[in-house]
Point group: C2
Chain length 151, copies 2
Amino acid sequence: MRNDSRLSRMLHVLIHMDKHQQSATSDMIAKMLNTNPVVVRRTMAGLREQGYVRSEKGHGGGWTLVRPLSEITLLDVYRAIGEPHLFAIGPADDQPQCLVEQAVNIALGDAMKEAQALLLRRLDSVTLDKIAADFETKLTALSATSYSCAS
Amino acid sequence: MRNDSRLSRMLHVLIHMDKHQQSATSDMIAKMLNTNPVVVRRTMAGLREQGYVRSEKGHGGGWTLVRPLSEITLLDVYRAIGEPHLFAIGPADDQPQCLVEQAVNIALGDAMKEAQALLLRRLDSVTLDKIAADFETKLTALSATSYSCAS
DNA sequence: CATCATGTTACTTGTCTTGTTACGATCCTG
DNA sequence: CAGGATCGTAACAAGACAAGTAACATGATG
């Protein structure tokens, strides 16, 4: 568990959901992600609240994709899961008295802000159908060879 | 302890060391950073190995700055402390079998690589004397008002 | 040799995502 | 309508990693 993999996992799930076009239970999704259903529900709650997926209880229930992949960007997903911290590094003190430390925070903070802005711009510029298309390319490239991912 | 603050702390220390131009003990530095001497030695070990500072044992010992701030970039310091992980997010699986997940990893990874490259470029473009100069500006701007940071 | 200071190891703490268990609510089906 | 399928949620344990802490060895100075 070295990284926060929620964004990665949700992208993975959404594209798979688009592929079968039928409701998937938290259990099925959990197996796909090598985790367990509670983690799935927890993480996908944000996607539901933002209207990207819908969940239905009871027999025959599960998760369904509501909006087309072409209308969901990576940034949308990132925001839906709560915009978790992107960086592992940061200042020792957010409001330091020391003027030297203030100058350090500004220098580091400026660089990080630029990097964050670039990353978010990049996430905003890619829609999920783009990744799905990349997948299709990979798939045809492999021709008839084995493709395994319990989808 | 939300973030890895080693880079921030080391920048702070190096600039202060340049200001007094005399050896500082781990204890003094620890007080400045609001931590304890072991953490200081642990973190500064990398700076010593890379030749930015020198440490001397025994009576009158402590840490001294070896190279001028103008010859040390933020990137140098980042590398000296062991290039810790920059991002808090990442893929769920580095070597996934699933082609969809592979496509997701590539999309996310590309964006992150770009952001990382930008950040490292920014770190490489700033030398420590630049931050020290920013500090001086702040200091004179404050005229004769109180400046507190047990340096 | 006594003291100061670093070097190093081992262990604890704090924080955050994940993993897991438990239980309640809801909905289909026989 | 009883029973099972499924989500919702709370509570708590596990794992990872930087940071905090304690203990002790090593080396330098006076």
